[in-house]
Symmetry: C3
Subunit: 293 residues, 3 copies
Amino acid sequence: MSDKKKILIQLDSDPIPSVFDRIVAIDAGADEVFSYGGIAPEMVRDLIYGAIFTRGTKDLNHTAVFIGGNDLARGEEMLGRAVKSFIGSLRVSVMLDSNGANTTAAAAVASAGRHQELKGAAVLVLGGTGPVGKRVARLCAREGAAVRLGSRSLDKARQACEEMRARIAPGSGSLSPAATQSEAELSRALEGVQVVISAGGPGALLLPKKARERFQQIKVMADLNAVPPLGIEGVDAMDKAADRDGVVAYGAIGVGGLKMKIHKQAVAALFERNDQVFDAEEIFKLGRALPAQ
Amino acid sequence: MSDKKKILIQLDSDPIPSVFDRIVAIDAGADEVFSYGGIAPEMVRDLIYGAIFTRGTKDLNHTAVFIGGNDLARGEEMLGRAVKSFIGSLRVSVMLDSNGANTTAAAAVASAGRHQELKGAAVLVLGGTGPVGKRVARLCAREGAAVRLGSRSLDKARQACEEMRARIAPGSGSLSPAATQSEAELSRALEGVQVVISAGGPGALLLPKKARERFQQIKVMADLNAVPPLGIEGVDAMDKAADRDGVVAYGAIGVGGLKMKIHKQAVAALFERNDQVFDAEEIFKLGRALPAQ
Amino acid sequence: MSDKKKILIQLDSDPIPSVFDRIVAIDAGADEVFSYGGIAPEMVRDLIYGAIFTRGTKDLNHTAVFIGGNDLARGEEMLGRAVKSFIGSLRVSVMLDSNGANTTAAAAVASAGRHQELKGAAVLVLGGTGPVGKRVARLCAREGAAVRLGSRSLDKARQACEEMRARIAPGSGSLSPAATQSEAELSRALEGVQVVISAGGPGALLLPKKARERFQQIKVMADLNAVPPLGIEGVDAMDKAADRDGVVAYGAIGVGGLKMKIHKQAVAALFERNDQVFDAEEIFKLGRALPAQ
């Protein structure tokens, strides 16, 4: 067993590296957190070199990288650069959670999955073309659900489905685009759906109560926006398996406890090996393995 | 008992966060210091959110905030923003010590109080309208002294007294303005005074020796400026309860040992609860409780 | 024995303080690393004041300063400012290793010295006027070698020798300039030489194989440039005491293991006393004392 300290290198795209991520890292068992703010993709390589050229291969699982900040697109680019900088076995485990998107999507899908078996279920993702929505859709499809990826624009929804198809294992669930702007479109999208997850931006109502009430088969609904008005009318941000008109409801803060547990679990797991890359799927898998709260 | 690490979040208004404050924090028992430089008041809220939304309420006493930097006015604004960012019991303890002003004022008043009971005493604060001077005046008045807040401009002195009156508990000491520019004004201000504390800027002689010598009742004098010429002629920066013409004298460096002890004590005390706000008064109270050196 | 934590203050001239130096510091036993990036010489004094005015004299060996970054000239200026900021016994140990120059030079000379007694040997330093080359020349001369400091310009070589003469103890080795541009000059410089160390910039071939092969007395050659083409034709960056045409060869990566050991050893040694200044010579001395790998 190595006596090396566990070092987490926090690469944050924001000028001020997140206090939140830093505290969670410490509480997850990192001995040291090296916090870097204002990181752009082109700075990543040298930082990774510093990480992989210091400790011996057998100790490299004691160094890991966490990519955060508000800008998820930039975070994804940073993750790509990090992985490309590794040289054979000279690599460290790395986790992406810009804007908390991965841990949020994982917590939402894991929460829904506690009430409705996702394999074979029909799931509607509202605001599905945004970064969190795409992650939710990916996770549900990989669990075996027939996912309708909703967007006001059918074209955008189609494009997002195309993008992600490569990530869905053949034989698992499916992804299909759904327009959700007009009442008629929304009704078509809700037909036969057991789970609705709303991942739209703050302040946009995507599913009015009266549209939803006509579909009694909906079993679970989750809204990942914490700023009112929420995307699903009738859900409260604090809801955590709350009963709302006979539907199990989750709000953004309601999934927050599980999100936090998943975040900690993932940071701790980074140090188990030196070759892990934690994006949505890997983080979800860790989250699903957690005992129910 | 929680096994959470004690995290101090250092918010410094200077671009380079103070090494001094960081070392003292470690020596005071903080397990981790998160150092942020170049902090402006409008950045404080998000940093505080990171602090209060991570750990459970029962563990929030293991996270605390230290506000420092050279600009005390900015530090006060940052303190205000921090306190306003708390949400009910979601809060952490916070300490302000920009430019060392609070720990310096506390050490000076505690030192003087070891030689002269402040309750009922007459105290002259030279340079009393500056940030340290105002803190010294507040502390002495709350101890029960009749404080003369001195300034070259009577108007400014009056204004400073007005500002602070709300902070002095009724029935405790008093605050009155005193002009101290001309020899005649200075003599009037020194009449019957037992304690003189000089808190003016560097290089300004506020009390010439010959003016002081005519007032044999002066028992203690302290000068908080470390750069010669000091504000009180005849005091040396190293003086620590030194006898200067029969007066007990303290210089800036002479109170430094106690100041450091108070600083450490205060940082350690931050972690006792999660709802403390340490400005001059609270820090002085901690300092007074320390055993004499 | 003090129970103070060992704090290393990393002053880096680059905007992003080196991850490499930070990890090595932790692995060398520092309990805390305070990392500061974008440091200019004029900022050093206040940072040093923060280091020397916090802990008592008997504990100052628990605080130390590491100067790094890519710019060695700036690092040397920072070291000068740090040393000038000390006040009598109020000082901390400080180490310079900008661009890894000191630990690299120390590792190269120590490696060569394992195969050829340097006292009395003739050593040619190619690229000898650069910062690493000058360090290599200094170290060899102090070991008692007759050093030929090579440069394409004899004037520059002469100037570098002049500069360093004060640093070579009288009675130890010697330093003499050598032009190395033309084939004839190079041959003259190689006459009777046992050790060749190349410290030129990346991508400049300084010693072609056919020039070298005519000098069978060469016993050791080391090339400190890791980017091909190397300075000495026929050496590989990975070489570590490799046999190349009967010559013991070292490449930049080949000396890397020893360089890392020396780096760690030096950081650990900083905390033994509070009055050490580690530049090339001191770091070499530590490196030579390490057991052979």
